[in-house]
Amino acid sequence: MNLPFKPVILTTDALIFVLFAVVAISAWYISRHQHLLAPWKKVARSRSGMIAAVILLVFVTVGLLDSLHFRPVLPGDAAVGKANYAVDVMSVFDVIAAPLKRKQEKTYSAPLSAYLFAKETVELPDGSEARVFPRLTYGGAHLKDPATEQTPDIVKRIVAGVAIAALAWNILLLCVTFWLSHRHGHSVRDTWSAIWKGHTEMPWREMLVTNGVVFLVFVPMMVLSAGYHVLGTDKVGQDVFYLTLKSIRTGLVIGTLTTLVMLPFALLLGILAGYLRGWVDDIIQYLYTTLNSIPGVLLIAASVLILQGVIDRHQDWFQTASERADARLFLLCMILGVTSWTGLCRLLRGESLKLRELDYIQAARAFGVSDYRIITRHILPNVMHIVLIAIVMDFSGLILAEAVLSYVGVGVDPTMNSFGTMINSARMEMARDPMVWWSLASAFAFMLLLVLSANLFADAVRDAFDPRIRGRLASPGFLSKYLPATPGR
């Protein structure tokens, strides 16, 4: 049987699915246990936290859609009986954003422009030559005379986009109101007024307004994308809006998988050191002091360079270019994880040291409960809040770190879309005159939105689970491993 596509599961995809499953199972488990649910309810009551969560959800959706990869079948060969699949790995997101991907111009063009950014010599109808800004192949191609038609056309499209956004938002409003009234058994009218007066337990009003703003910004952008390049095009004519959206997945992968990779190390070693003490503690402490004493960026740079060499020497391991780029992304996560587990490990060691002296664990030991059981049954559940806080707090730092590392040239593969590679390739554009600002601006704007909402959400989680942990985890020393730009930290 010949499928019209061949599913491709890249390494990071597989890990993302694992992560997704873990999150789903834990959510189900937590929802059935009141004592585990309580701090999450506190998170759900936090206004800034839930606003951030709504925005994060949008990012995560794009990232997940971009993680379902496949290779489309090549046309023409299907009849032969053996299908040939394209070398390009596509994602579901690529299919949705196919028009954006396809509409490649020659080179730079400003946002919403109908003309190329560089002058070219064109032959005029009367045979003479002139240097003009040529029209774009796709952006504004439907306009006969951009000088007069462009502004009304853009306004028209924005109005249409706003109308669609308003419609979608109203439908969402109705759904939420009906669902809430059904769930709590109040009348629809009461639920409605409770939402708008902010009397609901969860900040539904703020969440819905955030959602409305997201719709209001992105739907018109999408509508405009049908005829223009909303955020312009880059040096090789790719749509910047598309590139920015593609970068989201890379950021999310680095932010989450790194912690996933380091978690087993940190958990196992931290708890063992704290619980067993003695020579085990000495060895583990020696291990993390040694790793910690190497400047983080240098260790990461050295490891990435060396592993990049390994990848280059074994091109035959990978079928496609995206598999190779993905392998590098995965290795980057591994390296970041291995070099950054020390902070969490030290925290967990301290917490386990404290826990093992508590009465209930002493009692368990007196009853002859095995060490293994004490660790899994009594210590592990009681350090999980630290792990959770570490995960959410590391997330934003890692996204920022990716940009810095990619700038240095030891980040993700240069062919992979990421905020770092966008900034890196755009830095020379600042020197051009007139300046090409749009790809840099979009990369920074989207990165800021993602990191800011991640930070706000992390704050809400930390405040709900353990406000006192604040200083210890977010200490400047922890961040300085990634951010070499500020030695004062």
Binding site: T290, L291, S293, I294, A301, A302, A403, P476, T486, R489
Partner: protein, 326 residues
């Protein structure tokens, strides 16, 4: 005190040996000298003779740890580990692979520009972060405080690269106040240093000021502060005389350890502003894949970090007379 210092230094030795062995494994075992030669000479179309010659010139053609063919002590000393990694202990860094220059000499001349940026950022930064945090603590739980925290979170969320690129664009290109990048020796260097220093300070404000504020708020809720207020001291006096003094201990932990590392400079700032410091030296080495320089910087970095840890312990006794080192 002396006994403590001696013990701390002795404790540092196994860590440095660990770092040394780790870098050796990373640079010579995972990435064999053959691979290194190919990288330096160009990936493809390198003849085996060229590789052998490259290795011979740099002494990478020896066995890694143990030379069975040599006799006596030479069995150990005639190896890459002994000749390339062990000399790092007495700061003999060897020569750069790309241009053959003496690394130790480069480090000595390049650490001053690095320090010229890092030191002002550190001192002025610390002072302004502490002042900002004290202000937030003074106006705690008011709108000023909340606005301050939001500002910090926002500043934390902006990429460090943005501060640099934006600062260069606005201040150097639009307003023409200082040169975009470059460096000269001597007193005229200030023109080139102002912008990177300011950007360094601004880039760190979010995380640091917020963290210091947390420390201050924690101290403010203690009993001695209530006593001080009960005595009728003004809020400013309470903050400056009592809270600041006691909050210095956690602040010092984070800060003192960074002081020796100031010599290494900052990778990104220096490369953006073309400052000929150790940071840009490291970046160049990374992009040229010059592993002998990266190795030297890794080792130097760990030595400085360990010195920082020892300094931190000493600074405790200065900040808090109750702590005795033994």
């Amino acid at each position: 005190m002396i006994a403590f210092l001696v013990r701390r230094i002795l404790y540092a030795i196994p860590i440095l040996i660990g770092v040394n062995v780790l870098t050796f494994l990373l640079f010579f075992i995972v990435n064999s000298p053959d691979d290194m030669a190919r990288m330096q000479l160009g990936q493809k179309r390198v003849s085996d003779e060229a590789v052998v010659k490259w290795k011979q010139e740099r002494g990478y053609d020896k066995p890694s740890f143990f030379d069975a063919q040599a006799s006596g002590i030479r069995k150990i000393t005639n190896t890459i580990f002994f000749e390339k990694s062990v000399p790092l202990f007495w700061f003999d860094f060897g020569r750069a692979e790309a241009d053959g220059r003496d690394i130790a000499h480069e480090i000595r001349s390049r650490m001053w520009p690095s320090l010229a940026i890092a030191l002002p950022v550190f001192i002025v930064g610390m002072l302004s972060y502490i002042t900002f945090a004290l202000l937030m603590a003074f106006f705690r739980a008011t709108y000023i405080d909340i606005a301050g925290i939001l500002l910090c979170i926002f500043a934390m969320s902006v990429s460090g690269l943005f501060y640099i690129i934006g600062g260069q664009y606005v201040i150097s290109k639009l307003w023409n106040l200082v040169p975009i990048s470059g460096y000269v020796g001597g007193l005229n260097a200030w023109k080139f240093l102002v912008l990177p220093v300011v950007i360094g300070i601004v880039g760190g404000v979010g995380a640091s000021a917020r963290w210091y504020r947390t420390i201050f708020i924690e101290e403010i809720n203690r009993d001695y502060v209530r006593t001080a207020r009960a005595k009728g001291l003004s809020e400013w006096r309470v903050l400056f005389r009592h809270v600041l003094h006691n909050a210095m201990i956690p602040i010092l932990t984070g800060a003192v350890v960074a002081i020796p590392l100031l010599f290494l400079g900052s990778l990104i700032t220096e490369s953006f502003f073309s400052i000929p410091g150790l940071g840009s030296y490291t970046i160049d080495a990374i992009s040229q894949q010059d592993f002998s320089v990266v190795r030297a910087m890794v080792f130097l970095g760990s030595v400085l970090y360990i010195i920082g840890l020892i300094l931190t312990d000493i600074s405790y006794t200065v900040a808090d007379p109750r702590i005795r080192l033994q």
